[in-house]
């Protein structure tokens, strides 16, 4: 079969009209010029020292060795791990719980769903400002704490190095939960309700039904949610930039914000590129996970 197909296939691709090649080449060139070529440049720049003027000086691995003795970098790396776990964990748990609660149609479900996933369409910058308003010293959060007798808990949430990162995290999760909920609602739509009903008839508890019937059917969605969440948490920039810009004293610095400051504030272009390469390396595993998933879906189509 394959032997017979081979000449046919060769003929087939010779049958691709010239105009179709143009259809493919133009978009491909735009992407190569705007994405792949710049990405390769970043790798090259990370082995140089450069302030944007004159030529970049090759320095080998200096930038990378410098990174690991840079306290701000290691702090940002640690914050990024906290961020990935906190942002990922909370938004996935919250989104899954809400999806399960709002899965079956009943009165009011549509309203609850809309309210929860509306923030998803706000930009991260808007979300950041919405929450800056809440975190004001005389804002809603401190006022609420005062009203329920927890006045001693009132803080300068964004100006306090102990709370700044978590204050931003809450805002980011607030926006992300709706997104994860939508993904899981779609996943739950794809599960077989008769299995659930059958196990209910057999006397399975709600937890057992979730653990042994629903959860295994969500494997596909889980992969996507997991990959998307981790990639998102490594990309996180806007909301931190809008709320704290990494401060106070780098307490809410993430790799992305530190890279931006090094590159565009201090013009240490080589050093900033090295930070970017680290971000890329951390994201790579998850990018591949997502692509494998996409390939499988594409093959199954």
């Amino acid at each position: 079969m394959t032997v017979l197909a081979a000449p046919a296939r060769r003929k087939a691709w010779r049958r691709v009209p010239a105009i179709v090649w143009v259809f493919l080449t133009v978009p491909a060139l735009v992407e190569v010029g705007m994405v792949f070529w710049p990405a390769l440049n970043s790798f090259y720049l990370s082995f140089t020292t450069w302030n944007g003027l004159g030529a970049a000086q090759p320095v080998g691995l200096d930038n990378y060795s410098q990174l690991f003795s840079d306290d701000v970098f290691t702090g940002a790396l640690k914050n990024n791990v906290i961020w990935a776990v906190g942002f990922g964990g909370l938004s996935v748990l919250g989104g899954l719980a809400l999806a399960l609660a709002l899965n079956r149609p009943r009165r009011g479900v549509g309203l609850y769903r809309s309210a929860i996933y509306l923030p998803m369409v706000f930009s991260l910058a808007v979300t950041g400002l919405f929450w800056r308003v809440q975190y004001q010293p005389d804002g809603s959060i401190n006022t609420l704490l005062g009203a329920i007798g927890l006045g001693s808990w009132e803080k300068q949430w964004l100006a306090n190095p102990d709370t700044a990162l978590y204050a931003v995290l809450v805002a980011a999760v607030w926006r992300q939960v709706g997104y994860v909920m939508v993904l899981y609602l779609a996943g739950l739509k794809g599960t077989d309700p008769t299995l659930d009903d059958a196990s209910a008839v057999d006397g399975a508890t709600a937890w057992q039904r979730f653990r042994y019937v629903t959860w295994p059917q969500l494997r596909g969605v889980n992969t996507v949610v997991f990959a998307v969440t981790v990639i998102d948490s490594l990309r996180t920039f806007d909301i931190v930039w809008a709320m704290t810009a990494g401060g106070p004293y780098h307490s809410s610095e993430l790799l992305s914000t530190y890279m931006f400051q090094q590159g565009f504030k201090f013009l240490n272009l080589g050093y900033a590129s090295a930070i970017a390469v680290v971000i890329f390396a951390l994201a790579l595993v998850f990018i591949i996970t997502y692509l494998v998933r996409a390939t499988r879906e594409e093959a199954a189509a």
Partner: protein
């Protein structure tokens, strides 16, 4: 891949009357869900309330009090001296061409890859998709340099070009999946009638792709409109900044006038909220790409 056709959870889903056994548990459900939902509604309501108050009221009673005044003065200030009117218009000038060009190029690439025996097409498709998954940080410095060298630094054209390049892979991937699911007989019949590849693309394939194009357009509009990092990487002049970046500048300038900051952030949130409510079904189905099977 039928991801873009998946029925989406939507608000106007008809709800059957609950059976009586369930009705007893309905109040429990609402007693739990209403307070939880309030966590999402309250911050938005709070910002809205703050935005309609006067400066004197906020200064006298604090940001968290009940409104003692009502007016749209803060919106006026934000739109005028705050520059929000200009930056909203700028955002539209960036978003519309970027969405149109991206979808146009992506549909061309998807058409070529899905309907013709191009060697290694699956690899090409995945490489294109991978480009969209890269963290933008790995591109920022070279991209700002490249736009400089081709004379597009600090221009809206440069920013549009980046949005097009960065988004292409994802949209191509989605459209490819959709186009592959179109029955071959449709195009085959047209080919026998003498239609060329361009005609088949424009007259048959594109019109059939309308649902997934709508989903992607809704998604792309919010993504590009909401972008911050590319805008502050490529643009320098304050007068050229889109709404997200202008909002952050305004926050610096009106640091003591929280009612103006609140009004400005409401203004920045409204356009995407409108797109969301107008295209809710499309929007949600667009998000589900890759989440099925």
């Amino acid at each position: 891949m039928s991801a873009t056709l998946v029925a989406s959870p939507s608000v106007d889903e008809p709800v059957a009357a609950p059976p009586p056994r369930r009705r007893r548990r309905a109040w429990v459900f609402h007693a739990v869900m209403a307070p939880i939902t309030l966590l999402w509604v309250a911050p938005m309501a709070f910002v809205l309330l703050l935005a309609v108050r006067s400066f004197d009221d906020v200064a006298a009673n604090g940001t968290a009090s009940w409104p003692h005044s009502f007016g749209l003065g803060a919106f006026d200030t934000a739109l005028g001296t705050g520059g929000m009117a200009r930056s909203l218009w700028t955002s539209i000038k960036i978003t519309v061409p970027a969405v149109v060009i991206t979808l146009w190029l992506a549909s061309m690439a998807a058409y070529a890859l899905s309907r013709y025996a191009i060697p290694g097409r699956r690899a090409i498709l995945l490489i294109m998709l991978a480009g969209n998954l890269l963290p933008p940080q790995i591109l920022l410095i070279p991209v700002s340099r490249i736009t400089e060298s081709i004379g597009l630094y600090d221009t809206l054209t440069g920013l549009v070009l980046i949005h097009v390049g960065f988004g292409l892979g994802f949209y191509t991937f989605v459209l490819y999946g959709f186009m592959r699911s179109l029955p071959g007989e449709l195009t085959e019949a047209a080919r026998i009638d003498g239609a060329g590849p361009v005609q088949i693309y424009a007259r048959i394939v594109l019109p059939l792709c309308r649902p997934s194009l709508a989903a992607l357009a809704a998604l792309a509009t919010t993504w590009i409109f909401n972008d911050l990092i590319w805008a502050i990487t490529v643009l320098r002049t304050e007068a050229k900044l889109p709404v997200t970046a202008a909002l952050l500048n305004l926050q610096g300038g009106y640091v003591s006038q929280w009612n103006v900051v609140a009004a400005a952030s409401v203004l920045a949130a409204v356009p995407t909220a409108i797109v969301f409510f107008a295209f809710q079904r499309h929007f949600v189905s667009g998000l589900l790409v890759g989440a099925n099977k």
